[in-house]
């Protein structure tokens, strides 16, 4: 059995930032396990620019952003095993993994950081009736074919869902000579970043059809077309609005699912809204010594925030390894209501010495809504924002001092929406 102070599962932006932070905080033996052939995670196929504006203050491509961390990992004594898949986390923080160099690995760790990222919601989960023709795939799969393998997965394309990957691929496929007919979005608003809607659709002349979905796929072998329809406020197709659109490819960008198979197997408690672990302000999960960060914890829209969150987890794991805290912590629980779908972290140690950033997402598009953080009658934060949208993650900072002084051990983040 191999022994490490810290095992990081996943070598994407989250895993690398967490490992580097832990190193910086004095953790000695660190191992990163990555299932792909290289470090970098999904950034490796995101060859467009737009990464790093917040964190580095400059615009980088995905591989460039990743490389800044890969360089640091390589320069450090952090060990890395690529092409390595973790199969299980057993009791006593024992990690079972496999690859084609070492065979089966059994690794004991003082602390573990979960940084497995997320996956795209597949066609099957969407319930789109129709044929099983080829040419229906997630936008991320198409992105890999185009950017990594160098093949075109289609020529005449309809994109369902206006998530960021879908928007990025609309532009990418157009630049590669494909005709992107339209992007259909079930909701009355896009779930993607505003800047992507402008740069990837408007600038490319690709129509975005809101409140519209694909209700049938056609074609026996290769996809030949789709039927689209407008939907009502309950997201049900409106009869009479059906329209046939000829296409050979349907790309899906309809949501991301944190990859928490290992987390669930390890018996860690999952938040039903984020589909990630419930964590405290150090990103420690319900299992002591196991931390989570990045898209496996909550789906982010900017890698910059992933890096930030992962550094918190890295520092948290380092503190855990140094102190081996015992006994129960006292927590302030955090939740969202009135238009706030979720808040991360879900718990804060009452004795936290650092200010805490609460990340959250809203349920709808709101204009001039007020963000309020309160505990009972006590208001800790209150600020109006001109626009809030589900596609953009928000945060507020709460002072450590304020948390320590709370009478009621509950914090609520909510919106006050002006009446129309």
């Amino acid at each position: 059995m191999l022994k490490y102070d810290l095992v990081v599962i996943g070598g994407g932006p989250a895993g690398m930032a967490a490992a580097l932070k832990a190193k910086e905080c004095g953790v000695k033996k660190i191992l990163i396990l990555e299932r792909a052939e290289t470090l970098g995670g999904i950034l490796e196929q995101c060859i467009h620019a737009g990464f790093g504006l917040h964190y580095f203050g400059e615009e980088l491509t995905g591989p460039e952003y990743a490389y800044r961390f890969i360089e640091q990992v390589e320069a450090s004594d952090i060990e890395v095993k690529v092409d390595t898949m973790v199969l299980e986390i057993r009791t006593g923080n024992v990690v079972i993994a496999t690859n084609n160099v070492d065979g089966m690995l059994e690794i004991s760790a003082t602390a573990i950081i979960l940084a497995m990222g997320c996956r795209e919601r597949p066609r099957g989960a969407l319930d789109i009736p129709g044929s099983r023709a080829s040419g229906i795939m997630t936008a991320g799969t198409a992105q890999k074919y185009v950017n990594i393998d160098g093949y075109m997965p289609g020529k005449k394309i309809v994109i369902l869902g206006s998530g960021d990957i879908g928007l990025i691929m609309a532009r990418r496929m157009t630049l590669e000579g494909a005709k992107v007919e339209m992007v259909c979005e079930l909701m009355p608003f896009s779930g993607g970043l505003q800047r992507n809607i402008v740069q990837c659709l408007e600038d490319m002349g690709i129509p975005l059809k809101l409140s519209c979905t694909v209700i049938q796929t056609h074609g026996i072998e290769r996809l030949e077309g789709v039927t689209i329809a407008n939907v009502d406020e309950n997201r049900r197709p409106i009869p009479g609005t059906e329209q046939y659109v000829e296409c050979d490819t349907l790309l899906l960008s309809v949501g991301l699912i944190p990859e928490n198979e290992l987390t669930r197997m390890a018996g860690i408690i999952i938040d039903p809204i984020t589909n990630g672990a419930i964590v405290d302000e150090n990103r420690q999960t319900s299992r002591p010594g196991i931390f989570a960060c990045g898209n496996v914890l909550q789906v982010h829209d900017l890698v910059d925030y992933v890096t930030e969150e992962s550094q918190i987890a890295g520092a948290g794991a380092a503190a855990y390894i140094a102190n081996r805290p015992r006994g129960r912590n006292r927590y302030v629980s955090v939740s969202g209501k009135d238009g706030v779908r979720y808040v991360v972290p879900q718990n804060i140690n009452v004795s936290t010495e650092q200010d805490v950033k609460l990340y959250f997402r809203v349920a709808d598009v709101y204009r001039n809504a007020r963000i309020i953080v309160e505990s009972g009658d006590k208001v800790l934060f209150s600020k109006k924002k001109p626009k809030l949208a589900p596609g953009e993650m928000e945060y507020v900072i709460i002072k450590a001092k304020d948390i320590g002084e709370l009478e009621k051990k509950q914090l609520v983040v909510r919106l006050e929406v002006p009446k129309q």
Partner: protein
Amino acid sequence: MQYDVAVIGAGVCGAMITRELSKLNLKIVLLEKCNDVAMGTSKANSAIVHAGFDAEPGSLKAQLNVQGASLMAYYCNKLSVPYKNIGSLVVAYSWDDMKTLDELFERGFANGVPNMEIISQEQLRTMEPYISDEAIGALWAPTAGIVSPYELTVAATENAVLNGARVKRNSGVFDIEFKNDMFSLSTATGVIKAKYVINCAGVFADQIAKMIGDTSFKIIPRKGEYYLLDKNEKKMVNHVLFHCPSKMGKGILITPTAHGNVLMGPTAIDLDFDSKLDLDTTIEGLNIVKNDVRTVIPALSTRNCITSFAGLRAHIAGDNSDFLIAPSKANGHFINVAGIESPGLTAAPAIARYVGNIFHDIAPQYERKESFQTTRPAPIRVNELSDDARRALVEKDKRYGRIICRCEGITEGEIIDAIKAPCGARDVDGVKRRTRAGMGRCQGGFCGSKVVEILARELGEDMNEITKFGNNSNILYERTK
């Protein structure tokens, strides 16, 4: 090429019959119009071993069902196919239903179904804790089970190949001539000559029979739509759960699959004679399944659905809906194996033996081989191994240490085995059916492109020549700029 026997259609019956006849000293070819075996009804059905209480006593269906159910364990063991003898329950919700259970029991008894029992609400609850409160009793048939139908087809084909049979894929038959006691079959890959023909063409069996002038039956494609749920719903159902039957079939069922998912369906919609390629799922059909399932296990959530699909049953038009397994009246050297709808999968092992007997009657000149090999080498299933066995295997061949499909934990070694096997996989869906790579909850989102890459490498083709399931189901076009 000249053969003694040509079997048309590599579904579960065609494959099992080819295997059965490869026990004899003869040259046999299995002709399949698709890029792989098990591409019709055999890949999209309920994957159930029926106990045998549904069919009319005295019918061929009843006889071959009960025989097949008792043979299935033996065949799956010999051929290394996932099979579980979990038993079935027909659930009753009213006193009328309870009366139907009595009738089913009587019918099962007449058919020779062993060890059935009518059980109380309480017993039912113990066996199925999540069953609807409205359920008041059930018919328990312990001989029922679940099997992986496409793996059975693949395994039987591989075993037949090991015993000397030829398989020709992409070889759909479009014309048959009979001259001087010899059939000439025009196929997409050339003319095949054979002394005997066995028609296992599923929903197309009527069209094949018509080529020799046999118009005695017509096949209606009867569509059934299904949902497949994630493995995390596994605890919700322990046995094959049926409704009380209706005229259109056994109704919608809920069952675990041999691999631990939950399957629910099918609907039963008769299509036109010319809609035999229509495998579209429909909003209406899927809604029927969704709503029906709620009445059986209210807590079962289709939110955990990982895919939906449709299959076509080969239903013979007319009132008598028995299997048609007999030499054709138009030509005694041509055996029809037609109308093999439910319980066709269950019956398949018995159908193979039954056809073997018919063949012996019409062609007694062929003798048994001495060298028939009854088993196929068991495929390596890495995630079923113990830690130690797995370690030892990876030590020997590192490719079994490299995971390609994350969801199902399938390794590169297993995928290469599936491609290199006798009658191996040639397309992405073929790899999926043989190894389960891409069958999990991400449905090939991550591993799909890696499987394309491995197929291209192992078959010596370019990635853009690799298809999802043959013909024009290409995945990639030309290279990027």
